[in-house]
Every structure is written in structure tokens, then in C-alpha cells.
Symmetry: C2
Subunit: 310 residues, 2 copies
Amino acid sequence: MSQKIGIVGVGRMGANMARRLKEVGYTVSAVYDVRTAAAKDLAKELGCEAATKLARITELSDVVITVVTDDKAMEGIFAKKGDSLLTGATGRLFINCATISPAVHVDVEKRAEAAGARSLEACMASSINQALQGTLYLMIGGRPEVFNRAKELLSKLSKDGELLKYIGTAGKAAQLKALVNMVMNINTAGLAEGLGLADALGLDLKIVMDVFSQTGANSRVLVTDGEDMVNRDHSCFFSASHAAKDSGIALRLSQQAKLNLPLAKATYGQYSKMTKLGLGELDKSGIAELTFKGRGAKKKAAKAKKPKKK
Amino acid sequence: MSQKIGIVGVGRMGANMARRLKEVGYTVSAVYDVRTAAAKDLAKELGCEAATKLARITELSDVVITVVTDDKAMEGIFAKKGDSLLTGATGRLFINCATISPAVHVDVEKRAEAAGARSLEACMASSINQALQGTLYLMIGGRPEVFNRAKELLSKLSKDGELLKYIGTAGKAAQLKALVNMVMNINTAGLAEGLGLADALGLDLKIVMDVFSQTGANSRVLVTDGEDMVNRDHSCFFSASHAAKDSGIALRLSQQAKLNLPLAKATYGQYSKMTKLGLGELDKSGIAELTFKGRGAKKKAAKAKKPKKK
């Protein structure tokens, strides 16, 4: 645990991972975010440096954990020129947690190795509370020997390794993560349709959810999102715009594989529509705003308050 | 239990309900099916009459349980003229279990009452093994006083009433049943897309299903249909053509309610496509034949053997 950890991207997930690692005894050396205020706040909280250059993160850290928004941000922090995590990166280990295109993970591994560093993808299938508690479900892609080197640290984030799964070489974990989110988003969009129609038919939604829970309509998202859909409580855990991005990644993989996936397409359409309607920052449960009568962009009451327990 | 029970429609569900009722001590007086051989076989097994006229079922029974295919069959057995269950129906109780349009249940209640009889809808959200074991999940629609009259018998089919739910007036249970199947079918179609894409990407499907089961992608259909999709074991529990029919009912309800449900639409499209491709008699898990590379109508190996335990 003498390793010094740097964190790049201190949104809800990254910040909680940093808190968790500090709590279990790691040294968080520095944090970085394009939103400099967020980095400063967290640095103050953790007593570390708020780096203003990516190269400074690399300089101060043995292991750098990255949790950025999308492919473009990921390519930016591992840029081949200009300010980059790759500067002076010899011997460093990069652990990349963002849900991005699998091909970008493959490319980052190449760039890291060319710089004398190592990289792993650690795709997360859990949410902010799990990050803080160190109970993330982590799917790992990369070289097995690099995984072994990172295992102790990753275990501290994944319930002492109980929720830590090695999936395959670079890109494979990201593929699986995209699939998890694709299926989750489909189930969420489908649930919103079922509850929306039940509401329009004047059925008691409590009974409807009870019946769903005891039949073939049951799903994890019924438990996590059903009530929120009914109550219009769309506090953000996993935003609609992230859902659109992840369904989009899976959809591109399906196109490359020449597979026709109409439900994935329809779901991507719905989440993209939310973004267009200005509802992208609602939780994914906010998709019910599209399927309940009288709801939607123009209506109020779709709450996007600060997160609560889920 | 001195009531005499007649059964109309002795497919997989109806036949097992008859067996169950006989086992717990009811008198099964007569059975009827348009496929006369099926009725004869079951009548022989149960030691009752294989009626060749619907009116004969009504004559021999206090309670008539109907489990027919679709709206048309339902309207046929309750025809206003010609051979009909309504002939001499005074005092009879009809319990209608088929998944059909809610409006037809409302109409059948009217017709039954005009003939001096009573009717209930008892929509089932379980499969053939549960019918035999008397552990069906039953959603009841109709008049509360008629429900009370039928409660003892219905309890014998629904785990001593533990799985017996009164939903509302005529048509309401059928609406909810259509919603259950709509959401179940969406989740099934979505799962088939996830597993099909995982397969095309060369991922280990055992790991994929394990990850799905522990994340937001989890669902009841992952448990019931996941392995069957991977193994192409599409022995029929709930056929693709029934799935198309039920998603179609829900879709019409949504159109009447002026709701746009793109996932329900896409799912209906997939199950309708199966029927068109001649795959309608496969289990609903057979939808994976549309999403796995190299599978489909022209390929062999999609088994539709006789049912096994599920």
C-alpha cells in the first residue's frame, strides 16, 4: 500500500473511488479534472495536490486511475503530444474505468506500452455508492500479468476481490460492459413502457409492480428503477445521456459484427431522444418521462436533485 | 368439492389444470377441444366424457374452465347462436384463462350474464408445470362476488391462494396479463440481442451470463431462457407465436391509449418475424435464432422437442 495513486476524472465515480482508496490506506497523491473546481474541492478534502497538468499526475503517482466521460476525453488524456499522462510514464500503471469503446482501450494499451507503461481496463457495473464502499463489480481487460500486479488494489474496490472478474485481453471487458449496459437499458426502456401503459389503463401501479416482480416480467431494473419511474424521482445515478452513449457503443459493435438488433436500436433512439429533449441529465429511470401520458420535456416535476441512496 | 368441472381447450395448460383439479378431489365431468383426439385422450386418462358439443360441457358442469387460443376461439365458444357454452347456462360459472384481448373478456361477461350465468377471467402468469402442481400465478378480473364464489377452486390452482390476485373488473386482469407478457417479451428479445452480440464478439457466454446475473442486466428471463438461447434448446413452454399475439394485444392497447412504445413495437416485430419464418412453434427463447450469427430459419439444430422441466 505504499503505492501512490493519482486520479483523473473526479466525477461521482472517480471521487468516491479516491475516497475509498484513501480510507483503506493508500496515498492519493493528486487528482485532476477538466472542471478544475471539482479537482480542487476533492484535493482539499483528501489532502492531496489538485494537478493542473496531466503530466504532473503521472509524475506524482505509481498508479493512475482514470474515469473520464467518453472516447474523446480518453484519447485526450493519453494524447501522443501536448500535455498527456504518457509524459514520463515509464513504469507507471494506468487503470482505466470509463465506459468507452473497446477499440480505444486497445489503442491506449498500445500507447501506454510504447511509453514504457502498462494499462488495464477496469469496467464498472455498479454505481456511486458501491464506489465509496469498495463493492464495485469490476470487469478487467488487459494482459494477465498486469492484472496480477493490480489485483491487490483492485480488490480493495471490489469487495475484497469477490466482485473482481478477469474477462480477457484489452477491449474484452469494455465489450462486455457495453453489453451489460445495452441489456440493462433495454430492460429499463421496456419497464418504462409497461408502467406507462399500465398507468394509462388506470391500473394500480403498486399491484402492477408486485405482479411484475413475481412473474416473467421481473428484472433488476424493476427493483432499482420501478418506483422512481412511478414517483418521477429521477435523481441521477446513471444519466440518460450515459445510457445513450453506452447503447451507442454496443450498437456500433453490432454493426461491425453485421448483426441486426432492433431493441438495442429502439432503446438508443429513446435515450438519444431524452438528450435532445434536454432530459439527458436525468437518471436512466427518467425514460418514463417519454412513456407516461402527460409527462415529458415541457412538464415539470421530473426531479434531478442530488443523489440519494439506491 | 362436489362441483362438477368442465374444461374447454385441453392444450398443455388446460390438460394440466384438469389433472390438478382431479387430483385434489374435484369431479372433472367432461372435456372439449377442437382437436377431438386430444380431448378423447385426456377424457380416457381422467375417466370423463369427451364432449363433442360445447352445450354438452355446460349441461354436465357447474363450473366451466376455458383455455382457448385467441380472441376468435373465445368468441366462438361463447357464440350467440349455434353450438355454444351459453346454451342452458343458467347458474353456471365460466372461468376464462386464455390470454386474449381485455375487451373480449368484457364482452363475454355480458354474454354470460345475459344467459343467466357468471364469468371471471383468470389470467395465468406461469407455465405448464405450475398448472400441474397447482402453483399458477393467477390474476383475476370480474365481479368481486363472483370471485368470492370461485375462490376455493381457484386457490387449488394457485398454491392455496398464495398466488391468487384480484385485479379489478372484467378486462383489468387481461390488461395486466398483456403488460406482463409485453415486458417479459421485451426482456427476452433484449437478452437474445445481448447474448447474440456477445457470441459474435467471441466472449465466453458462461462468463457473460454470470456477469449479467450480477448486474443491472439481470432479469427473470435470464434465468429461464439464457441457457436455452445459448444451447439452442427451444422446447416449447411459451411459443413465439403466443409471444407475438400477446405483444400484439399490448400494442393495440397502447395505440388506443395513444402511447408510443418503440420497444414493444420492435419486440412484436421480432416475434412476428419468427412466425413468418416458420419458427412460431419454437419457445420464446427461440428469438435467439434471429440474433445469433449463422442461425435462423434455414439452419437446423433449433430444437422444438417435447417439453422438459423449466
